[in-house]
Amino acid sequence: MKQHARTALATLCLMSCIYACPRDARAEHPPASSIPGAMLIEPAALAAALKSTDRAKPLVLQVGFHVLFEEAHIAGAKYAGPAGEEAGLRALDLRVKNLPKDADIVIYCGCCPWSHCPNIAAAFDRLRSLGFTHVRALHLADNFGADWVDKGYPVASAR
């Protein structure tokens, strides 16, 4: 019985440590696959929309890590912050604070393969919960480099 109690206590301590630790790749985050397919936009479609002169362009927000934004980002995109972290969500809130709820917004990350992205679904969920009705997520299957930069779509650097 004592052995069971010790094991339970050790397990509890371990779990407490894990959950108390700051977020990293092992932290829970909503999977990118939770974003409905109809709410996704493919890179070619966004590139065409940004190139178009006969209609309003969407607001493009990078919801990933600053070092990657600094290296290269979609031309015209604004930095919001990594939505997989609380600080990033707060930065996203501030970024969209004064926008109308029907603003045309495209969010993207591309830090790592889509299925592993810690930011994109968190940002999508946050914007929807704030009442934004026209939010789409850029589907970067592999990463920003492979699916946007290497395709020759317009990029800018913050360096």
Binding site: A25, H116, R159
Partner: protein
């Protein structure tokens, strides 16, 4: 997504050509025709501080086979890879392998916490956008570069990799390393 970029140069000796072709063949299943300006070129030199407080210069590792791994604590595939790289560092150190990690985290404190929980047998330096651009644009993780003893980049791995295949490529390079 797995991508391995490897090319050969006309200037190389026959043996080197065979080696690089061998590396390409090992990774050919997922090869992509994207531009790879750094392949078969000297690895861009850099000097950075590591998380142990030491100064690290890539040039100090000339003569070794270097696996330069760009990673971050928020990157799931990276976090899965680095313990394996640490194992390789221990196993192949005597044969001349040196793994160098480059953290692309915005938050250095997160890396320190990670390294406390998961000690790595190789140095990890603080990366930044400048270093990423120097290596052709590290616009997504993980990414690794395999550098031969002459300091030349012979393979570029982008995304999740077949680590068994990567290890075979490293072993092939180590076997050719001058003693």
């Amino acid at each position: 997504m797995k991508t391995v970029r490897a090319r050969h140069s006309r200037r190389q000796t026959c043996g080197a050509v065979l080696l690089v072709l061998g590396l390409a063949a090992l990774g050919a299943r997922s090869a992509r025709c994207a531009p790879a300006p750094l392949l078969d070129r000297p690895a861009p030199p850099f000097t950075r501080s590591d998380f142990a407080g030491k100064t690290l210069s890539l040039g100090d590792y000339r003569g070794k086979v270097v696996l330069l791994n760009f990673w971050a604590t928020w990157c799931g595939p990276c976090v899965a890879e680095v313990p394996r790289f640490s194992g390789w560092q221990k196993r192949y150190a005597a044969a001349g392998l040196q793994v160098i990690g480059v953290s692309m985290d915005d938050d250095a404190a997160a890396v320190k916490r990670f390294l406390l929980r998961t000690p790595l047998a190789y140095p990890v330096v603080v990366g930044d956008a400048r270093l990423g651009v120097l290596y052709g644009g590290v616009n997504g993780l993980p990414q690794s570069f395999l550098i031969d003893p002459q300091g030349r980049i012979v393979a570029h791995y982008i995304g999740e990799q077949n680590l068994a295949r990567m290890r075979m490529q490293i072993e092939a390079l180590l076997r050719r390393r001058p003693g």
